[in-house]
């Protein structure tokens, strides 16, 4: 049958099982939005306050559900407002299809009103871009976009459709999605070699990253940990890969990682990385990192091999596939001495001393975790509160901790929380933010209210850009340039103004009371937790340094 470009867009979405999209309309997108109006019984379009919020929502939706996130925008400023969100998804390998509209093709290149070369702007932050100015190219571009976004190492793609294409007609038939690129076959000798290394190691360690979450391989990972008695450390992106209650889960590794994790990396004789990319926040000093270990790197993306740290064995593979295949080759083992040493380091972990007169970040986050249970999804912004969330929330399951790891985007959290809640309406979603970050995205409260998404925002209000403030304290002689905000925002009132409920908590009792209300609420709730600006994120290994330079208090 013959369909318009706009209908083709909607039909291809349906072909890919898309029922929820995020976005913001405008002149160039009118035809597509007109069609979304007609498809509203099958495709829910969430209108955000700002296109950046829509991209973070599509991203959060993808992180929580494992599906491809979809976001729409108009031309010009609509398209440029997507950029931070696309870059955020790109850095964390989140599958996303962005569908932008552009001006009529005959106006392209003439600096027409709201014309922007968005396929050029987004080259370095997408896996692929498609500029569609002929109707016959539209369907293939859309189908390829979904395939590319979800294949191999996932990531965002962008399609830019000129307005005339959105009304032009073309022949169309519904089809199944294109098959994804096949996952690489693992050479037998690589598997044998890795298995031999594991079987001979005395101090083996698993270093787990976001790739494991993307591959949904938690069960397989735990099976390996248990069978061969191997401790694991995880990156920010892999919080919840295995429950924090597992004694061999040594916790976060890297700059703000646990003493146990960083020591274990330093002392291990074998490190196996699973979908982790040895970033500068983990391998702070790439030459000394895991200095005693043979390193096996497993990643779906060949270009990650040897990028930051030289490894001994490379294995380009899907993580789940690798774990499934290696498990039978690995001997049951006990590394009593190593086990006790590593686990011993975790128990020595001292309870962070709070600043007297204030709730400590640890108390707050543990209280929040206990109040919402292990199925809750957490989305964070960026700063100290993000690191505390990584350290102190009780991460028990994968796909439950949504945070901008690679780009570190302040303002990510609220959008991501909205996306997660759209994906899982019956799951409690908690947005953990800071006073700086919240001012970047609190506009999305209107979205949460309109769609009746009772997201709980826990605002860790230290009245400063805490993470930057901490560095100024440590490395800039206490010259607090532009980090002491002293804003007069009354969060409780602002919450009410948006149609949310607002609480202010200065004690754990007040926090517990507010949380008890929040979990029952059918509107979004903000809980402002007053904390001291002098709280630090610790431990800390300064950039370029090693575990020997770790600052613990």
């Amino acid at each position: 049958m013959k369909l318009t470009g706009s209908q083709i867009v909607c039909e291809v979405l349906l072909d890919h099982g898309v029922d929820t999209v995020f976005g913001y309309p405008g002149g160039a997108a009118l035809n597509i939005y007109d069609e979304l109006y007609r498809y509203q019984d099958r495709i829910t379009h969430v209108i955000s306050a700002h296109e950046q919020g829509a991209t973070h929502a599509a991203d959060g939706y993808a992180r929580a559900t494992g599906k491809v996130g979809v976001v729409f925008s108009t031309s010009g400023p609509g398209a440029t407002n997507l950029v931070t969100g696309i870059a955020t998804a790109y850095m964390d390998s989140i599958p996303m299809v962005c569908i932008c509209s552009n001006v009529n093709s005959e106006l392209i290149g003439r600096d027409a009103f709201q014309e922007i070369y968005i396929t050029g702007i987004t080259i370095p932050i997408t896996k692929q871009t498609y500029y569609v100015n002929h109707i016959e190219d539209l369907e293939p571009a859309l189908r390829d976009a979904f395939k590319v976004a979800a294949s191999g190492r996932r990531g965002p793609v962008l399609i830019d459709i000129t307005k005339d294409v959105s009304v032009a007609m073309a022949e169309f038939t519904n089809k199944a999605p294109l098959p994804l690129d096949p996952i690489p076959e693992i050479p037998q000798d690589t598997l044998q070699e890795a298995a031999k290394l594991i079987n001979n190691a005395r101090k083996p360690l698993l270093y787990v990253g976001g790739g494991l979450i993307a591959s949904s391989a938690s069960e397989e990972l735990e099976a390996l940990i248990d069978k061969a008695d191997i401790p694991m450390v995880h990156t920010l992106m892999a919080a919840g890969a295995v429950s924090c209650d597992h004694d061999l889960n040594l916790g976060l590794v890297g700059m703000h990682g646990t003493v146990a994790s960083n020591r274990a990396v330093d002392q291990a004789d074998l490190v196996i990385s699973l979908g982790a990319r040895y970033s500068d926040r983990v391998a702070l000093n790439p030459e000394k990192w895991a200095r005693k270990a043979t390193i096996v790197q497993v990643d779906i993306d060949r270009s990650e091999m040897n990028k930051n740290v030289y490894v001994d064995v490379e294995c380009t593979a899907d993580i789940k596939d690798f774990l499934t295949q290696i498990l039978p080759l690995v001997n049951e083992a006990k590394h009593d001495e190593w086990h006790e040493r590593t686990v011993g380091w975790t128990t020595k972990h001292r309870l962070a001393q709070g600043v007297p007169g204030y709730m400590s970040p640890q108390e707050i986050l543990e209280t929040v975790s206990d109040a919402v249970g292990e199925d809750a999804i957490f989305a964070t912004d960026v700063g100290q509160h993000q690191m505390w969330s990584a350290q102190y929330l009780k991460h028990r399951k994968a796909h439950k901790f949504l945070t901008s790891g690679g780009l570190g985007t302040m303002g990510f959290g609220y959008g991501a929380a909205i996306g997660a809640k759209m994906g899982f309406p019956d799951t409690t979603v908690v947005h953990i933010t800071g006073d700086g970050s919240f001012h970047m995205n609190m506009n999305e409260a209107c979205t949460a209210v309109s769609y009746k998404l009772p997201i709980i925002t826990v605002l860790m209000d230290n009245q400063v850009l805490g993470m930057v403030y901490q560095w100024q304290t440590a490395f800039y002689g206490g010259r607090y340039s532009n980090t002491c905000l002293e804003r007069k925002t009354d969060f409780v009132k602002v919450a009410e103004g948006f149609g949310c409920k607002g609480y202010r908590a200065e004690t754990i009792e007040e926090l517990k009371a507010a949380l008890a209300e929040a979990v029952k609420s059918d509107v979004p709730v903000w809980i402002q937790c007053v904390i001291s600006r002098e709280e630090k994120v610790l431990p800390m290994i300064p950039g370029g340094k090693t575990v020997d330079d770790m600052i613990v208090e």
């Binding site: 396929t119 050029g120 080259i123 692929q128 871009t129 500029y131 993306d301 060949r302 270009s303 040897n306």
Partner: protein, 169 residues
Amino acid sequence: MKKEELKRHIIVILALNQVGALARIISVFGRRGFNIETITASPSNYPGLTRITIIITATDSAMDQVLAQVEKVELVKKVFTPGENTLYRELLLLKINAKGEDRERAMSVINVYRGRVVDLTSESMVIEVTGSPQKIGGFIDIMNEFDVVEICRTGATGIEVPGRTFDII
């Protein structure tokens, strides 16, 4: 990490001939901090595929990394570094101001390099030379004795002598 020496590397890429393909491929080099010395692009014998030849100076390990990154670009169908046994050619157009005796001296150099004079005025001459990048470099060195007003070279393209066949798509 050992200190590695910088070397010249030649990369051949076969990519879909689409709007923005070249920009995306080049962006990979810029993004990873490589300066491209020369680049040529032209249609290949595979319909719809452009053959791009790029020369960069980099360490071996940086080179491996950039190759892996280029391979990852969706539009790229094949990337390789040609073997030892490869013929490289480039084209030079060079303009000098020369009259009288200078002109005769220039002609003798041009003849040695099997160049051709493709334009001649009473003041100036435009010379065309093809050959390996080294030969072109040598020719330019010598011609610098004259009043050189303009130089343009295409950048190298290359082909392996025992033909390589590709398994594309």
